[in-house]
Amino acid sequence: MSEVRKSEDAPNATGMKAPLVQAHDLAKTFDVSLPWLNRVLERKPRQLLKAVDGVSFEIEKGKTLALVGESGCGKSTVARLLVGLYEPTRGGLTFDGQDAHAVFKTPAGQQLRSRIQMIFQDPYASLNPRWTVEDIIAEPLREHGILRDGAALKERVGELLKSVGLSPLDMPKYPHQFSGGQRQRISIARALATEPEFLVCDEPTSALDVSVQAQVLNIMKDLQRKQGLTYLFISHNLAVVRHVSDQVGVMYLGRLVELADKHTLFDTPRHPYTRMLLDAIPKMHDTGRARTPVSGEVPNPLNPPGGCTFHPRCPHANARCKSERPEFLHLGGVRVACHAVEEGRI
């Protein structure tokens, strides 16, 4: 719990209004035990997986926070916690001053949900193949009771399609008639239907080719500029993150290890894991340069190492790193969880 107090005590950037989204000590534990009978017969204990373990961050209105990390680090679980698809095991989310998970349970939750929308990774799986584009985009409008009248509904769907660079003439078509990039635009149009303020984008371009990725990223940036949207952008591609975000959080085994302003993070990465990730990216332009060797793999999250979970792969680990879990501290304008950085060893 000391982790939370530390981050709250620390000075907030002066003169800023309260952030739109605040996650404090968000945690989600999954029970991945064997069925009861197997546990009894095989004498196995209950097994818990800490998918997200105490993540805190803020996003200001109109800004983009990107979360990066390797598979299994808990990025998508954070996304699902933020839109209310999961109930947090600990901690909570404050959205525009209200405790979001408490409100989700009340009748007013419906209204709050319409202000937070999500874009999923796979545009082939997230659109119903038996529905027309019109039905897909009109569904949130009907569901939230925003528009009921047929003609007005049609007009609004047409507007939404135009805002993502498609044509109102596409309304009677089915998803299979579109390419991957166009489908992802349909998902964006659907997410925008309720005029949300906050969009959670879980790897929105990972399934797309680069030329199409550029189209989708440009549209997302244009929409943010025009409508003042706030994004949580999840990606494993650091180059994409550098392009879209204002702030970047790096996750490792369910925790944030570094959270900083984009320029600071890319120019002067502090945490050894962030440095390793940046070194691991194949660079397009300095060809021929040997990359810094990266060793080891992400440990099994069911049985994470003690102390700092990164210590088995860290070149700067010492005895303290093996025994004591580092706190997420404010250090020179960035937040970082690392003993070596705290002690000034690196």
Partner: protein, 325 residues
Amino acid sequence: MSLLQIKNLVVEFPGRRGTLRALDDISFDIAPGEILGVVGESGAGKSLTGAAIIGLLEPPGRVAGGQILLEGERIDNLPYARMRHIRGRKIGAIFQDPLTSLNPLYTIGRQLVETIQAHLPVTAQEARRRAIDLLNDTGIPAAAQRIDHYPHQFSGGMRQRVVIALALAAEPRLIVADEPTTALDVSIQAQIITLLKTVCKDRGAAVMLITHDMGVIAETCDRVAVMYAGRIAEIGPVHQVINHPSHPYTAGLMAAIPDIAVERERLYQIDGAMPRLNAVPQGCAFNPRCPKVFDRCRQERPDLLPAGATRAACWLHDARAGVSA
């Protein structure tokens, strides 16, 4: 002499509503020990080119024209049994998903020993010793114990190392690697690329590396071929193609990739999408999306023309017409 020569390769898929031409007049070669990258968007024909070389085209797909020569010998028209001998012995293959390329019911040792014995005249003990050496070379710790483990006991990165060991088992002259790192995390991806590069250089094996990741190409390859709608749009030395692309498609593709080192407010975008195989436009397939299109592009299809240090299939580089980019 080139190790592999592809001459005017055509691959077709006959169907009820007409024949789809998936690869149309592809020519390139790979020198011994060279790493050739093949890039392009999904559906451009990258994997199909690889499948045609290793003789694993899915029916009804078939080689409808052209030749594939390995060490001067035609391999595209060989009977199945002969091709089976070449596959593995002379050409190794690495696929995208390491879990589906390994048999989950056999230990990796058994799979390696079987492959080695199928191609090389060695005893079981000798094959096992070689298998352990291969696992050591591909960076698997405690190889002598791990050899008796099953594929599910390995992590994704380790499995891909096993697949690389398997591809190298019979000491092939050419490795066809189809998106070998796409299913892996960035930190693992870096390890696998470095490994692939060193083991192939050590053994003098040539590699055809198929990927959609330009960063991987830039760090690994000697030459690169850019594919678009079943044809090669540009081919040349990797630095030239990346830094001074000659084909407008290559140029657009390079500009569309977010670069970790450079920050831009907007990414360059190529509008539209690659045409479907049943609707490839007349003339140059890229003409509806090309910013430099002119009349000739809509009528005549360009072949690869010399363009500086590379060759590009673009009328801008036709010396006879006196037009130059």
